[in-house]
């Protein structure tokens, strides 16, 4: 069910959609959906599948994920991720070839957007803690190039955040009554887009899919400017035209470029799907704010210390295998019932943290269960069965111990582990 953002989909990135997959069917398959997604979820897993869909499809759904991430047994109280998901997929024919178009939407119901920048020394589940709650819009097109060979591409839009705090006025050096400051705040949400592209071949009883997703980075840029005079007495400036400027550049959400290969085989009532993905985490930029400072208090001579450059996180690429099973349990005039199961293993891209940084992450094992129930409309108003899908997934972040080189490190040694439990449900209407 539901709409889509990107294909492939890593399981524990900063985005809640990436973290838990997209759509109840795909969740129930452990995310092994590169070769089998033909509904709105194809926006996420492989847009080429949109041209292989049979009917116009409207999806409405809801996803909920509850992480329980700890450090030395202390729950980090990482927020739940939840939100409405929906979209429409429009397959058709053009010049004798199949085509498809889809529009997807993810709408968090707690916050439209959430961002925060943390000092690099502060421990955080780096791929979860800063989970932005963002509105995400995605659109994809797909078409059939050769018989049964489909290609597709899509754009996903997210929002960058930038802001300026401008303060102007006079500051009294000895008398607070001389201080008069006017401030103005300007916040800007700018769209960021990235590309997803995929291919799908549908054979007799088997499918082969390939999907590429571009990397993207959402930034939080903040400017604080203070302009004005510093007065020792009314009308007596010590600094006639002072300036203090702070610029904070911070990356709040990053998803690596990735390639997923997927295959599926139908054996009687069974469908087996498998994905193998490469995620380019070695290009992960530092998730810590970089500060630029400027101070001009002429004729006074003050120098600001240069802020330290953030330490490179040193992540590495990973290979992620996924496996899904789907069993057609019932097929009858009133509808059908599919049972699903799956899982994946995702090694952590994060290195040990023996120094000042504390970017916490660990290997992830996931198990998933799901079901799909298609019910024919006895009134005949709806031309095709209504599709109800439910997928549940549990992700185990295995215990990982962090040892510090410095015996007096402010954080010290610690162990991190966690769970994430989620459920996604949706209704699909075919027309």
């Amino acid at each position: 069910m539901t709409a889509a953002l990107v294909c492939g989909g890593a399981s524990a990135q900063a985005n809640p959609l990436d973290a838990f997959g997209y759509g109840a069917r795909a969740v129930g398959l452990g995310g092994a959906a590169t070769a089998v997604s033909t509904d709105v979820a194809a926006n996420y897993y492989n847009p080429a599948g949109l041209a292989a869909a049979e009917h116009l499809r409207l999806d409405l759904g809801y996803a909920f994920v509850r992480p329980a991430l700890t450090m030395n047994g202390g729950d980090q109280n990482v927020d739940d991720s939840r939100g409405f998901q929906g979209g429409v997929a429009l397959p058709g024919e053009l010049f004798g070839r199949r085509v498809g178009f889809s529009l997807g939407l993810h709408l968090p119901d707690e916050r439209v957007s959430r961002i925060r920048a943390l000092p690099e020394r502060q421990p955080r589940w780096v791929l979860w803690d800063n989970r932005p709650q963002r509105v995400v819009i995605s659109s994809s097109v797909a078409f059939e190039t050769l018989d049964n060979l489909f290609v597709g591409a899509g754009l996903t839009y997210l929002a960058n955040t930038g802001g300026t705090l401008d303060i102007r006025g006079d500051v009294g050096l000895f008398d607070v009554e001389l201080t008069r400051l006017d401030s103005a705040v300007d916040v800007d949400l700018a769209a960021v887009r990235y590309v997803t592209a995929g291919a799908l071949y549908v054979g007799e009883g088997w499918r082969l899919g390939l999907c590429y997703r571009q990397d993207f980075s959402l930034k939080l840029d903040l400017d604080v400017r203070v302009n004005g005079a510093v007065l020792s007495a009314p009308g007596v400036p010590v600094v006639p035209e002072g300036l203090f400027q702070l610029r904070s550049l911070n990356q709040t959400l990053y998803s690596p470029q990735q390639v997923f290969v997927g295959a599926a085989f139908d054996i009687e009532r069974w469908r087996v799907s498998a994905d193998l993905g490469w995620l380019d985490w070695s290009r992960f930029p530092t998730p810590t704010a970089r500060l630029e400072l400027e101070l001009d208090l002429a004729p006074l001579n003050f120098d600001l210390p240069l802020p330290a450059e953030p330490i490179a996180p040193g992540f590495h690429d990973i290979i992620v295998p996924r496996l899904g099973l789907e069993y057609r349990a019932i097929e009858a005039p009133w509808g059908r019932l599919d049972l699903r199961g799956g899982g994946f293993y995702e090694p952590s891209p994060a290195p040990d943290q023996p120094g000042a940084t504390n970017y916490v992450d660990s290997d992830k094992w996931a198990a998933a269960l799901g079901m799909g129930l298609a019910l024919a409309d006895p009134s005949g108003v709806l031309p095709h069965p209504v599709q109800l899908d439910v997928g549940a997934q549990v992700i185990r972040m295995t215990p990982r111990t962090y040892l510090k080189d410095d015996p007096a490190d402010p954080i010290g040694d610690f162990t991190a582990e966690g769970w994430a439990l989620g459920i996604t449900a949706g209704l699909g209407f075919d027309f």
Binding site: T70, M71, N72, G73, G74, D75, Q76, N77, V78, R116, L118, P119, R121, Q122, P123, R124, D129, N130, T401, Y402, L403, D406, P407, A408, P410, I411, G412, D413, F414, T415
Partner: protein, 287 residues
């Protein structure tokens, strides 16, 4: 301090809650005048208290001190508390004609300084078997800490003071003084004063030597600071030292973890004691 409090003890608004805390940061003084902490141990007339050493036994805090009545040699006394703040009456543990100060207790054995520092002694908490474990005429020995068969102490001679260590069994003094490696531009006192060293266990189960000490950078009032070492050799200073500073003289610190609270006892001018505490969301260092 502020940045450390955020880093080590952030809450949900700071980007996380229950973050690991080692008990190096965020101490708040508990003022005797306001809340009557240590009241029974607080300075009675004509008596000076100093050199606190705290430990937790059976869920209670035992606070050993140097008790020095006017005109009488100091002795070692102890008071206990259920909360680490309000203590019962002082009871004498051990005394010596030359005086005993700077107690350190392991099991049922205490270590202390005899007289003006001519010797370090040990004895049982019932006051028996008091004997010298290290002597050096002409030097002033102080601040014993017995850890893992080693005796850490300070040695002052010819105007120079250093942190040293010796084998407890043999009395062999290792020749090289121990140092605290300070980072450039950090708070850097010229000498390590009244150190207390304990064996601690980190949040990952690793063993570490944990030291709290006093220092007087620039020769002014003493601040309290932390350092740590894996092997008990070269100590690294805690980068946000001093952990407690800015107030008039505070020295001779003793640090314990009491449940989720880190307690820092220290001596103050006038023969009085002080206490600072940090209530941790997720205390990770055990000692």
């Amino acid at each position: 301090m502020a940045s450390l409090g955020c880093a080590a003890g952030g809450d949900a608004g700071d980007g996380g809650s229950n973050l690991p805390e080692r008990g190096f940061a965020g101490y708040t003084r508990v003022l005797a005048a306001d809340e009557a902490p240590l009241q029974p141990v607080e300075k009675p007339d004509g008596v000076a208290l100093g050199d606190p050493f705290a430990r937790v036994v059976d869920g209670r805090v035992e606070l050993y001190v140097s008790l020095c009545p006017d005109g009488v040699p100091c002795r070692i006394a102890v008071a206990t508390s259920a909360d680490g703040r309000a203590f019962g009456p002082l009871e004498t543990v051990a005394e010596d004609p030359a005086g005993l100060t700077e107690p350190y207790v392991v099991g049922d054995v205490f270590y202390a300084v005899r007289g003006e520092g001519a010797a370090l002694v040990s004895g049982r908490l019932d006051g028996t078997d008091v004997r010298a474990v290290l002597e050096e005429p002409g030097a002033r020995l102080g601040s014993p800490s017995a850890v893992d068969g080693r005796l850490f102490f300070t040695r002052e001679a010819d105007g120079a003071q250093a942190l040293r260590h010796a084998e407890l069994d043999t009395g062999h003094v290792f020749p090289d003084p121990l140092v605290v490696e300070h980072r450039p531009a950090d708070w850097t006192p010229p000498a390590i004063l009244q150190p207390e060293i304990r064996r601690a266990t980190t949040g990952a189960g690793r063993s570490v030597y944990r030291m709290v000490y006093a220092g007087r950078p620039g020769g002014g009032d003493a601040d309290l600071a932390f350092a740590a070492a894996f092997e008990g050799g070269a100590f690294s200073d805690w980068p946000f030292d001093p952990a407690l500073g800015g107030d008039p003289d505070e020295f001779a610190p003793s640090n314990i973890r009491f449940g989720a609270r880190y307690l820092l006892y220290f001596a103050r001018p006038g023969g009085r004691l002080g206490l600072a505490e940090r209530v941790a969301d997720n205390p990770t260092e055990s000692f």
